[in-house]
Symmetry: C2
Subunit: 199 residues, 2 copies
Amino acid sequence: MEAGFPEALKRAIRALALLPGLGEKSATRLALYLVSHPERAEELSRALGELPRIRLCRECGNFTEEDLCSLCQDPQRDPSVLCVVEDPAALAVIESAGVFRGRYHVLHGLLSPRDGLGPEELRLPELLSRIKQNGIREVLLGLSPTAAGEATSAYILELLKDYPVRVTRLACGLALGMEVRYADPLTLKRALTYREVLR
Amino acid sequence: MEAGFPEALKRAIRALALLPGLGEKSATRLALYLVSHPERAEELSRALGELPRIRLCRECGNFTEEDLCSLCQDPQRDPSVLCVVEDPAALAVIESAGVFRGRYHVLHGLLSPRDGLGPEELRLPELLSRIKQNGIREVLLGLSPTAAGEATSAYILELLKDYPVRVTRLACGLALGMEVRYADPLTLKRALTYREVLR
């Protein structure tokens, strides 16, 4: 339905339609909205143009625009407790509960043999080297209580068996099968406060 | 759920969440996708940055990057037949049926007293001046068969009663209550071919 539209509008529709979950109709609707609101188009263009600057924190793997993310730079955070999370979205939800005051370790995935995601695709060597170097006393497994999350937690528990660290996991205030990124802050607060000691 | 995210990512989420139909969760999902696909973020940023260049065709009111839109510049199009449409999206759908070879006139709205849209908010003076100046022999009303579309068609029919032009409308192959912008090309082809003569 692009016939008669100027090229700039067609390009915007095509670029929007490449986003996951947006079809041609939604893309057209959004592009026409942005033509009528050029100040929003400019703001969005500018904001999206900055996204390629984002990279992974050298220490924890969180998203950052600098070498170290804001959490790793924060001297108020306890460096001896590491919360292991699946991805930066899960980190952000846990962080918004406002209870956890340690540091994070972002795996960028969960074990999933079906999708070809083995231990070497996750940031597990980086986790081990942090534990070896930095006097970590507790590893809190903040992974989703899904099949892949449980498998990954079990794998990490086994991996850490010879290290002198406490390993804990989020308490099951979380509904089984639910993903961490969609949990509400109160449930997470409970899960953080009553975290289970695995050994 | 933005805690721990870098500023650039927060800005992108906020700008995306301003789009109609996108909530904070969808905006976060799209922004995280674009962080993982920086080449798409750049392409989309560039495409959206061009949208503020789009303005209205001086002649017909269609979207264009130049003074006249591509359809008004096309010498192959019959300048004596004008198809009146609600907006550029309706124009694009009618155009994609590939039957109509005249020019367009875009109203940018329909009469809607409830929303405060009277005749002076639409591009009706421009329609009259085109009819006076340019030897128009037919005005084809390409408006949706909805209450607002029918009211606008009736208003234009009355407006043109002293002008020596034929007035036609799209044949009712269109389902009643359906908007032109969502019609399929075959239905539109039929509606264009069997357009009704009003007088």
